[in-house]
Symmetry: C2
Subunit: 345 residues, 2 copies
Amino acid sequence: MVQMWEEIMEQPTVLGRCLHTNEKVIASLVTAVKNRNVSSIIIAARGTSDHAAVYGKYVLEMLTGIPVSLAAPSIFTMYGKSVQMGNSLVLGISQSGKAADVAEVIRAANAQGAVTAAITNFTDSPLAVEAQYHLFCDCGLERSVAATKTFTAQLYLISQLAAAWTCNEDFKRALAEVPEGLKKTFEEAQDVETKVERYRFMKECFVLARGVNYAIALESALKIQETTYTRAKAFATSDFHHGPFAMIEKDMPVIVYAPEGPSLKDVTGMIQKLREHEAEIVIVSNKEELAQYSNCFLKIPKTDNDFISPFYNVAVAQMFACRLALAKGLNPDSPRGLNKVTITR
Amino acid sequence: MVQMWEEIMEQPTVLGRCLHTNEKVIASLVTAVKNRNVSSIIIAARGTSDHAAVYGKYVLEMLTGIPVSLAAPSIFTMYGKSVQMGNSLVLGISQSGKAADVAEVIRAANAQGAVTAAITNFTDSPLAVEAQYHLFCDCGLERSVAATKTFTAQLYLISQLAAAWTCNEDFKRALAEVPEGLKKTFEEAQDVETKVERYRFMKECFVLARGVNYAIALESALKIQETTYTRAKAFATSDFHHGPFAMIEKDMPVIVYAPEGPSLKDVTGMIQKLREHEAEIVIVSNKEELAQYSNCFLKIPKTDNDFISPFYNVAVAQMFACRLALAKGLNPDSPRGLNKVTITR
């Protein structure tokens, strides 16, 4: 089997290990941010890691109540400017730990006396060395160019940080169940291999979600783009009404993440509108009643926790992209025009 | 001529009027944020207005040094949570002033004692009434569904606020020249009508820029989507290397904003990589030497100020979208499936 598929399947094991590896450093980081009484959180990242940052914005902002801003690294590198970060937690995320612009943000933050942390998959990477605290994904080498297990580990570390910061025992318990939930996702969505057949000749699609799962819509679109070269574009359902909906015509494929929880009402409203316009609808959900409104239904395990469903949704997104690449006769492990490590300044 | 074109052409007049209308309220708002010594800026917006917010993130963050965060309105509405905003300037942007979720963010900010401001085109709109300070676009009624003059007025008000806040006389002078610069843009890019012919059957494209002009790439893609139904997807060149580049194949149309200034090196690097992959390249630039690397070159006036070039770039983006819609036999004033006012909660 291709490496991407194997790395997707490693995720339940990876998450358990990554929590164990980081318990102490998360506790120290929480002590530091509490002692400092930080008034803002700034996250710097690129590509897939930037989608983990979007997840982080929702989870950290909602649980801690502290405003979270996603850094524009070019402000530091290209424009040579800085922002006031002395009273902030500044978090850099990069699989390789080699993102030069992200490291530059951490360097500036250190110089201002901020609390800095990095999430990477290499303990000796420039970003891991630059930051005061290093949360180590501990995923083992990720060989496929398309990031899968390192992304899920990034989400897991961010959510564990948010849970520890806010002493949220319920959330910790819910997170502890994610590895088992992922195994269940693999079982429930195992028919993805036959279901992707229908999309063998798909040239483009939209990917929609609302709230924290918007991060997963972004990541889902990126996985489809890089492994199958299909044009895929993600939107929050709320933004999709503002302009982009005009592109919907009969048979346009739209993948909709519709987990039980706060976003369900908005998302089902969008599904209805898409049906009126005769779109082709793929629904990823734990609500089986929605299957009747879809052309293709992919099931995830039960949860109405919007910080947990992203783990199951992204597993389905990864499986879908990988199987679709194979159905199209492509090798998802080595997309054209890409390298595993991307260094932008 | 269609209303969209007329409204594009009104922009030089609109900007002059909008500055005059708002000089006093901007001065009062600046006094308020200075008295409060605000430590963060939060901007809430949707759709086109959200692209003005992206411009605002760069301009306000770079000039004031204060971290700017783009709000996720669903945190306030769908999840019913709030964030600490007591020491922030919270800015809501909406053409109609009817964006319910944006108004909810402003309401929460008022309750916490934040400084709040709104940018809308209706003095009696819910958002204008809710916020403590109202910056009035004063554009006259915008009849075309595709927003043009109200977007430019939003950029202008944000940049005037940043200039006044930081007593930046150079920037004020540069801004004062924008209306004349727009007239020049209309002259220099008047051949867009014939140049769009080449793209009559274009089905998809990418739109790229770096730094603050990323906001214009986003807006350019949205204008093309909503008026011509062409799939258009914007990326910062720095993110485009991370995955999406895999979608580039021979003849793929890519629109690149390449103004003189800090982003030029990065952007010309991307143009070279695109040429190696035999993409179809549209360059919007004031650097005529770049014309030789393009299949279509659209000229903007001289400026190496990255806060000014967005005005000229977006005018070209609007002209291109409008003329392309007409070349495709579509009416850009009334795209299918859209209403002028979009209310999301």
